[in-house]
Amino acid sequence: MVYQDPSPRRIAFSEWSEQFRQVPDELIQRFRYFADSGNQPWATYLFPPLTFALYGSRHLKRLKFDNSLAALRMWGFVMNETERLFRARQIGRRVVATMGDLGVTPPLVLGAGNALPFYPDCIWWLPFMNESSVLLDAAARAGIGESACYSRAALGAFIKRSYFPDPALCIAATGASCDDFSAVEQLVESLGFPVFWLEMPLRKDCEGNENLGTVHKQGQSPIFRKDCTDYGHSVREFITAQFRSLHQHLQQVLEAPLGVSDLQASLRKVNHVRSLVRQIKLQAYSAPAAVLPALELMVIEFGNLHFYSDVDEWTSILDHVLRTVSQRAAARRYLGPADALRVIWVTPPADPLLLSYAEDQGLRIVGSEYLINQALPELPVDDDPVRALAESLLQASLIGSTRYRAERVAEQVRQYQAEGIVISGILGGSHCALETNLLQDYLTKELDLPVLSFDVPSPGSLIQGQLKTRIEAFVEVLRERRRTADGGHE
């Protein structure tokens, strides 16, 4: 079996179709999900974007993709997830919907060997990927319309019952977080799905307090500091009690023991994934030029939420991606020009086409704050695993001050010498309306960097002309600043 990656390049949909002809059948058959469930004919996933476009993911025709085999694996695996969830139920696994906490509860669910966590929240991409209002319309008929953010698509998916199997349990995190999604969760419960409510408290972010220390090892969570006040203590006890209650409930629902050793094994798997993602990001952001496109990097980062419903295969894919980017970096074979403009992207862009477009215009994403800070750091395994998970929730992007997010961005700006910041707001997202201005003000003043902020328009096949113009103007500003800084020479 001979297959060699071509020179690194971002390629279009039809180019992948052509390149896929060179992929040997043996490779298609080799990569399979649920490897422990036997040699099921349906478990292959190494397919090009056209496969998924044919089944309705229309945006794939417009995106650009990394041309490595590792990236093809990644895309095939991610796009195949709906089928994977149904197959999971067909082979007797218990599917659990984790909602709202974005990355914290899945390790708990994974500890019960036969259970599989997934995030209905992630359905919010589908209106963009499918260029479709089907799910948003379904949500609107159920009572949530344009006044809420695109996460309302998840409600449409619950109504449809064709995007994932009916979950054995829905874990709904609510409280000091996205109020739009809390409304979605309430309506999900009203549809008759079993819901366990998990209350997320407000984090009091302490600044300038000399008693504050970092929670984890250096480099993993540089900003978050333990709140050592009485409030901080009570919050940690409160959330730990919430998690202990969830732990009990899960064992009842899943009818499976969920002991300390099970949880520790689960946390080790999760840490392995998080470690791989951290290394991939570090390679990608530190290299002199791009070794992986922004779109793939974002998909990889979001894999930390629930590992696209198969943690073992996802880990293998991340290994493959890391090898690929490491080889590229070592060989100095890059995807884009060395003079690309380095920016940090804040808040996931909802429309993935924006990342492809930004790169086409000469931007290179060297850092991100995608609202999933709680899913990034590795977890302490040897202590009380339930408490470790509970306390990791306190690092959530959305449950504290905007300044916390801003500092995370600033940290990355300094680490990766970013030249600008893009903040993409989510139309209808109430936290975005408030936060975007605060973030922009803080970052502009603290860092003296150009900040581009905009709301991502509704799903469609194109980026609106006005938004394109703003991105192009932003690129020109960054280029001019670089020229000036270089004494008029670029």
Partner: protein, 340 residues
């Protein structure tokens, strides 16, 4: 119809062995769409936008579950060099096959699918429909299988004789057609239409099961296996009487088989655990019977087939005749909906 699922969502569940809100409904509305759109047939099959607009109009009128990009089965043969005439209000007619015998197979040359014959019409129609409703409705495009194409590249009766007298030449020709068809399929995939493999002239009404297994099936299977590289769920449609070859059909590796003149109870009993079945209301009946009778008969058909273990799609056995009254197609839809 007020449904929970879109046709695309419904089809998506069918092909992963999950129950749907109702069974998919698939009257094979091909050129009949031109009549629905009050369009001349020649405009329908020579202009991609017209073909697409007719299909979209028909889907709007009937609410069925699939778009069908198709006019007739000479498509690949024409692209490879056979000559067709285009009557104003009838389907293309084969006037001059490219070859006089299978022995001339070496004369088949590689062609660019997008500039040969009317293939680009199909692709343009697929693009248009995909952009319009591809998020909600699967876009199917029917592609003739090699055996049927061969009968449009060589005078039909001569080729059938050559199956016995010149079997090696016939196989060589079929292999070359298969290779060419793969190129056409690839082009279609890039236009986001799901290929339906049609082999009407490999019917039991035309050839024996032995000849089918020897000359038609291997090439159908090669195309289907090629498409399986892309994880696509492939429908194979064979017209006429396929009863003698029912037991062979799983060897094609098709995921769904569309059957015409076959006892569906027998089909269900013999194939139902291995294949999803599509069929098979009689097309003469949909053309000529009164609507209430159509509705009743379709309901009974669905009641018989709906529990097929691998899944079922309520369909006509073959294409809905061009001049079928709209009320009859609507009766079919009603019968299938209530039967489901």
């Amino acid at each position: 119809m007020s449904d929970r699922l879109t046709p695309r969502e419904r089809f998506g569940l069918l092909v992963i062995d999950e129950p749907q809100d109702r069974i998919p409904i698939f009257p094979l509305i091909t050129s009949h769409a031109a009549a629905v759109a009050d369009m001349k047939l020649r405009d329908y099959y020579t202009d991609g936008r017209s073909l697409a607009r007719a299909q979209l109009r028909a889907q709007e009128v009937y609410g069925h579950d699939f778009i069908s990009i198709f006019s007739e089965v000479g498509l690949i043969a024409e692209a490879l060099g056979s000559r067709f005439e285009y009557p104003e209000n009838d389907l293309p007619v084969l006037r001059a096959p490219l070859l006089s015998s299978a022995a001339e197979h070496a004369r088949l040359e590689p062609v660019n699918p997008m500039t040969a014959g009317r293939y680009s019409v199909y692709c343009a129609a697929a693009d248009y429909c995909y952009d319009a409703i591809g998020d909600r409705v699967p876009i199917l495009a029917y592609v003739p299988a090699p055996f049927t194409t061969a009968l449009h590249l060589v005078p039909g009766e001569d080729f059938l004789v050559e199956l016995t007298t010149e079997p090696e030449a016939a196989q060589r020709l079929l292999e070359r057609i298969t290779e060419a068809t793969i190129e056409f399929l690839l082009e279609l995939l890039n236009h986001c239409a799901l290929p339906v493999l049609v082999d009407p002239l490999a019917s039991g009404s035309v050839i024996s099961p032995r000849l089918y297994r020897q000359f038609a099936l291997p090439h159908e299977r090669r195309l289907i296996d090629f498409l399986h590289r892309y994880d696509l769920d492939i429908i194979l449609h064979i017209c006429g009487d396929t009863a003698p070859m029912l037991d062979i059909l799983p060897e094609t590796n098709a995921d769904l088989v569309s059957l015409d003149r076959v006892d569906m109870v027998a089909a269900r009993d013999r194939l139902g655990t291995r294949l999803r079945l599509i069929g098979n209301y009689d097309t003469t009946s949909i053309l000529l019977s009164p609507p209430d009778r159509i509705e009743r008969e379709v309901r009974a058909m669905v009641a018989t087939c709906r529990n097929n273990p691998k899944g079922y799609v309520a369909a006509t056995g073959c294409e809905v005749p061009v001049r079928t009254p709209r009320e009859n197609v609507k009766a079919f839809i009603r019968g299938a909906t209530t039967g489901a």
